[in-house]
Symmetry: D3
Subunit: 230 residues, 6 copies
């Protein structure tokens, strides 16, 4: 019978990874800043939420395409992960099953993996929280999965509305998850740095009571467009 969700089930062993310093910096700036710094692109859907507050990570994407209700390819992917990677999993059609639990997390942690982004469900979240193994998921649900059909590892995937290629930089925190193309990681980190420096001054002025209307010189434009005060 047909046992694969795609024509050619493959697992790519070697992928290029982004500059480690850039990945680290992107993580420090956080999701909102990185998203803005690259022109308001790359953000995964709003339903991707961390399993515990204050979770955050950045790393290189190892991508996994899985069939609905089948987590076999995640086991294949573990072997292909190295320290500093982030596992990024997307089902071939929408699914909320609990593809991932504490055993897989134990295995990933042994390899130095930073965490998991999954457009599906996760389980054993109390244990994952104790381990401080961060996960962003569509659902928290114990529903078990089978190991019967193939998918692919390290191919481009669409995860929660964004295309992610193996080796892209992934940043995640309380505000969601953003992907940065591998080749642009350093440039985006630099743009984020500028944005942050710029924000610090604004924060002080706003805290002192200066209005955004004045700080950003908006009054004239608002008037020109027809805003009327009463």
């Amino acid at each position: 019978m047909r046992n694969a969700v795609i024509a050619k089930p493959i697992a790519v062993r070697n992928i290029a990874r982004p500059d480690a310093a850039a990945v680290k910096a992107l993580g420090d700036y956080g999701v909102a800043t990185v998203h803005e710094a690259q022109g308001r692109t790359g953000l995964l859907a709003a339903y991707m939420r961390p399993i515990y507050p204050r979770a955050s990570l950045s790393g290189a994407a190892v991508t996994v395409l899985v069939p609905p209700g089948d987590n076999w390819m995640i086991h294949v992917a573990v072997e292909l992960c190295q320290a500093g990677d982030v596992l990024v999993v997307a089902p071939s059609s929408p699914c909320s099953d609990g593809y991932f639990g504490d055993l897989l997390a134990t295995s990933l942690r042994a390899r130095g993996v930073m965490g998991l982004i999954i457009d599906a469900g996760v389980r054993d979240v109390a244990t994952l929280t104790d381990m401080q193994f961060p996960v962003w998921s569509k659902a928290i649900w114990a529903q078990g999965t089978v190991k019967a059909s193939l998918g692919a590892v390290n191919v481009p995937i669409i995860c929660a509305g964004q295309r992610i290629e193996p080796g892209d930089a992934v940043v995640a925190d309380d505000d969601g998850v953003v992907v940065v193309a591998r080749a642009e990681a350093a440039a985006v980190a630099e743009a984020a740095a500028k944005r942050c420096a710029n924000e610090e001054d604004k924060r002080k002025r706003l805290a002192s009571g200066e209005l955004g209307l004045d700080l950003y010189k908006m009054r004239e434009q608002l008037k020109a467009l027809g805003l009327e005060y009463r």
Copy 2:
């Protein structure tokens, strides 16, 4: 590897079916009337919609439990269907994939099956409409499925929020889908008949301008509860 969504994958060959005359009568009364006649119970979820207007059916349920994204057990179920049956399919976890298309419909029609109720997706709906093969589903979607894991046929299932046992009577039309326990089919048909007779008179009186407030003698109770006219 684990290839079944449940501990014991079984297919039950022989099931008891409801009284054919009762099933026919239930179909004539329609979903809303049958639902009321059995005490406002048995209705499947509101998201179960027919693939074309004016579709309707009644029949005996042949039940199928399928894994997400895997339609293999439907092929097993076809053999166990007979004329007058309705195939009722539920996935073991939520799924909108297109489990069913025109080839399966051709096969079911050859056996005299009345139609399909599926808490998942269906495809080839233009052809199904041409065939006038009625389907109530959660989604219309071409997404293909694999044939890799087992489920069960003719076991009790939960389909769109209702428990359905093999051999229960199923009624479906533009208002949705309702299930009637096999043993109660005749009694519910009788209750539905009374309800219908009763409604005919009401319809005439309402059409002539008589108010429900008077017909149902509601005014006093409304006043007693505190309704105030202004």
Copy 3:
């Protein structure tokens, strides 16, 4: 026990209604045009869909606030409707039950009511379609309701995200449902007329191949904002 969803269950007998000619005209212009003509306001939520294609109506709102799963107040409202009215029903908390069916439609038709807008479910839709009694609803579902608790008739309600006052003009067609404040019905009809006249000329020019970019003189502004052609 407590039997009302609101503090003071009332039914207001006499309401002011909008100018009949204006209501008629609004219906002729249709939802999209009326919505634009009043400054892109007044549109009910996108989930409000007609039960059959090409349904359309306009009329004066008779508003009904109902408890979840309880359609008693609709019976109270029928008596307060007159020819040209539209019944507008909202539950006090979200509900998809089938509050309304062919008997209530028969009763409303006998009074000359144009149709129903309900932020909940409706049933008997095959019969309602035969009657050409138009309904816009959140769901089609046979689920029955009780008659146990009070609500209110002809008070301001929030229906599918818009506030509707008794006597407001309501327009509905394939594009959805829009409400126009009673006092503004004539002015909005006039604005809609202008918009329509204006559109006719545009349609001809676009049909002949003229581009919107030129017709609306957009090229310069796009360039000024930084659009770059490659």
Copy 4:
């Protein structure tokens, strides 16, 4: 081009605010009690959730109507806020973008604003939590917004299913968000006080093992309606 979501973009400078003592008292009673005390009305939709546990506030509403994906009017609104106010934001059509972050919170805090109610998304929630700046929102999402089109400040809006007028009292806690009409704030606070006093005695009796069936004298009514014990 057309740059406003509504016909007349206005910002109203001066609004009446509710009695400060009443607002404070409403906050002390909390959402569930206030909602009950005013006849089970005024509650915003269930999807409005606080960004951290134990968040709570009460204040006077400064209302903002914003276009989808455009937060410009929030900057206009900041200037019109004063100490004790709550910013209440609704988009002109559904949107989950991150309209609001830590810079705007810094600005609002500088003016003594209590917090934010937004029928859309919010970002920088880790920082907002550190600041203990409470927000109730439909989503947490980093998605950026533009500053290109106008809306309105201090006009009546529909926010998460409730109409809110500028100057209404708003109360929010872990149970959601409720609005109280400005003119009724004192009366509702008084009704809430009575309800609370009443509840304290009930709580003690229930804690000691007395049954609600007896405390509320329900047994006879249940029997009269036909409840049958087996």
Copy 5:
């Protein structure tokens, strides 16, 4: 008028309960393990979430069928609960109203009830958290309910997609809620024990860097199905 959601409103006083030691053991193993141990069945829908992190319980189900927006039957159910029970509530049609708050929790706690599973809304969650009274619900919402119509207590219900009979064992934690048939509680507890013992060894091997591919001997099967490494 019609005041019941079902034909025969009944409350069953005496139900059989599962073996207490088995129930305790099931709670110790947790939802994911119990769900797997009984063949990946019995899990309630993913939207059932605890009101605070680290909530957990196990107990015998006292089931309640309630009308939408009407919590009267919960008061009837309280009397029928005993120490070690779990109240399991399902509405007759979907509803998110706040059926349950701190007063009912006080009453249940006085009887030794472990917690609440409700396919609807709950309120007073800050107080419930202070009480450490665990609740799994579809929503947190203050919306009040009436006491006007009957339902049933201790009849089989469908709650969040699973059939639950009175006296079934219910287990809930951060991963969701699972039901175990009363008669199978001991056997499932035993199967869970084996599974846990088995997992401990796996966890150690995975933590030491051994791959699941080797531990579970997957490589050959993956190759046979056509997985290709690049």
Copy 6:
């Protein structure tokens, strides 16, 4: 102020288009067959539905990225369309507004465009149906849009969960929408042809009563996996 949803708003004039004969053939085979023929990939989300039954098209994608609630870039795109193209529109964050109506359809038809795929809303659907201008959309809704901010034309976009590049082949019918990479259009058309030929024979055999279990030789494998007949 910031007026673009992306860093570099561009419009690409010249794109490569797929082989016209292949595009035509893909349209003849239909969505389900094409989706299967390319390894069950490329299908847009299930919520993308045609505005009238029996709508179908195939063509070359002209892609448009639009801000939420802003349809300006669609006007830019019209000029870049040629006969046989399909306009494919995705918002930069989720939106259901009515970006497109009969005037834009008139303009596109004048250029020979086949239809519209839009991951947002559409309006004037009665007129579009009269014109037989096919549209697949996420919503039907009259909500108006502004023309204030820039996006991009003929850049790769994510539309309803699939990446679409300018010049890809798009096929749509009652079963949904599928995209085929430009370079693979001919090969996929060929694979689809084979699949169709193969299906014709199967259909006849199934119609004559032969079982899928026998036709696909499934019995042995089912037995091997442990299916048990009772």
